[in-house]
């Protein structure tokens, strides 16, 4: 079963650096959403990509940017890392317009900023 694949699984970066996280969606899905989950909190919506464009965006600064490729895979980029960016970053894929079954999530990338 080709679910959602995220890489890397863990990452340690220094404050001020830049990071790129990658996501391959579930087969048949065309929409990718990115979430940030801090310890003890629920996932917070960062943005969503559909047809290679950002369709929705949450309350995150421009340091957070993304991209979707023609094969529907996606990247999340974070520039000028802050200590507060340390979190679990979740990628979720879905089929646009399908509200019944919700998202399929990957296992996440654990980012630690030191």
């Amino acid at each position: 079963d080709a679910g959602v694949t995220q890489s890397p699984t863990h990452l340690i970066k220094t404050r001020g650096q830049q990071v790129t996280l990658r996501c391959s969606p579930k087969s048949g899905h065309d929409t990718v959403s990115w979430y940030q989950q801090a310890l003890g909190q629920g996932p917070q919506f960062i943005f969503q990509y559909y047809e290679e464009e950002e369709r929705q965006r949450g309350n995150f600064p421009d340091r957070f940017s993304g991209h979707q490729f023609p094969n529907y895979s996606s990247e999340l980029n974070v520039n000028a890392l802050l200590l507060g960016d340390s979190a679990l970053y979740l990628c979720a894929s879905s089929l646009s317009g399908d509200r019944v079954y919700g998202y399929t999530f990957g296992s996440g990338t654990r980012l630690t900023v030191v």
Partner: protein, 113 residues
């Protein structure tokens, strides 16, 4: 501004009994609601959903109830099993931005054998 609230951070239930997880929302534009379950070191997995045109939806041991006037929904698990021990997230989306799903902070359920 937390649009989806889960006021109980944790819940403990005996095996075989009913687990009731509660969720409140503030955005009246929300018209689709979902529950996700998350085990440690894994991403959330979809459990059950309900449209605002319904007040109840069942799937096996899981039932979700929606009270639109109170902006409240609940997830019932009957009977509870030790494998149900996980963090449960309530989530919602609005018809105006239906692919944007907003999550609550989660409730950690422990089912005691």
């Amino acid at each position: 501004d937390q649009q989806v609230k889960q006021n109980s951070p944790s819940l403990s239930v005996q095996e075989g009994r009913i687990s009731i997880l509660n969720c409140d929302y503030t955005n009246s534009m929300f018209d689709y609601f979902l529950w996700y379950k998350k085990y440690p070191a894994e991403g959330p997995t979809f459990l059950i959903s309900i449209s605002s045109i319904k007040d109840k939806n069942e799937d096996g041991r899981f039932t979700v109830f929606l009270n639109k006037s109170a902006k409240h929904l609940s997830l019932h698990i009957v009977p509870s099993q030790p494998g149900d021990s996980a963090v449960y997230f309530c989530a919602a989306s609005a018809w105006t931005s239906y692919d944007k799903v907003i999550f609550g902070p989660g409730t950690s359920l422990s089912v005691i054998p």
